[in-house]
């Protein structure tokens, strides 16, 4: 695994908050994030920052 820079850490902390924190409301519509459909599991959005991190690393690697 690569070293995490301070800039990476800041972005990851923010993305973690956007995707994993905040109020979870019961949504009805499905919208895609970066081409991947969000799955409303139990009518709540489920998308982890880990997935975001993986995608970010894949993009960097490509």
């Amino acid at each position: 695994m690569n070293e995490l820079t301070a800039e990476d850490a800041s972005l990851l902390e923010l993305v973690d908050r956007l995707l994993n924190k905040g109020v979870v409301l019961t949504g009805e519509a499905t919208i895609s994030v970066a081409g991947i459909d969000l799955i409303y599991l139990g009518l709540n959005v489920v998308l982890t920052a880990v997935e975001t991190l993986n995608k970010s690393q894949e993009r960097r690697a490509s």
Partner: protein, 226 residues
């Protein structure tokens, strides 16, 4: 009309610029319990991208600067205004309580990154591969436990020196090989920069981690209601 949610606030809504995500209309949907939802009028076939997440963050910052608000998890969408209202009405008491908890407050974030990565564990010269494997696993486990203990002690020192109530602090330790501590503090917005400076001073003495301070941000971590 699909609504892409940004934040929940108490009525009446603040006066805000009418531009939402990607310049689309920013909408206020008022529910019956004195709460409302700030959202962008969206189209279901429009896919969200990474820049949209950061723009959502800037929008939430703008809303929170104008009135106390609860950030909504990015990607939450409603098929109609009625669906959005119904969702707020269903949890109005909990949302009012959460709004009162974060009103006038901001979040300051601290990440401590390990300065030195643990040296890779060398296989011990020994009789057989099974023994070597077990010795290696034992050394790795011992290193993990030592990092966990050190991260926990860093958190304790921060909490002791910061002198804030525990419910106003959230933290996790060793969430990845690089991260020792991820911590968030809920502070009065007008004191946020001072508290950030306090944190910087406290962690400046830690010689085995690099501190990364962020914020003040909207109170994402403390808006959870479940």
């Amino acid at each position: 009309m699909t609504l892409l949610a940004h934040a929940i606030a108490a009525a009446p809504p603040a006066v805000l610029s009418p531009e939402g995500l990607r310049g689309r209309p920013l909408a206020w949907s008022e529910a019956s319990a004195g709460l409302g939802l700030w959202s962008t009028e969206w189209a279901p076939d429009m896919k969200l991208e990474r820049p949209d997440a950061l723009e959502h963050h800037r929008l939430v910052e703008r809303i929170c600067a104008a009135q106390p608000c609860l950030p909504v998890r990015f990607g939450t969408a409603f098929a109609s205004v009625d669906a959005a209202r119904a969702s707020l009405d269903k949890r109005s008491e909990v949302l009012h309580a959460a709004l009162a908890r974060v009103s006038g407050k901001s979040e300051v974030a601290l990440t401590l990154l390990w300065r030195r990565r643990p040296a890779p564990v060398e296989p011990v010269a020994g009789p057989g591969p099974g023994r070597r494997y077990l010795e290696m696993r034992r050394a790795e486990e011992s290193e993990r436990e030592s990092q966990q203990a050190r991260a926990a002690s860093l958190v304790e020192r921060i909490l002791a020196e910061l002198a804030v109530e525990r419910p106003l602090v959230w933290h996790e330790t060793c969430t990845s090989p690089s991260v020792a501590v991820s911590l968030a503090v809920l502070v009065p917005t007008e004191e946020a920069l001072q508290r950030k400076a306090d944190l910087a001073r406290i962690v400046a003495g830690f010689d085995d981690v690099t501190p990364v301070l962020n914020g003040p941000w909207p109170p994402y971590t403390f808006a959870r209601t479940e």
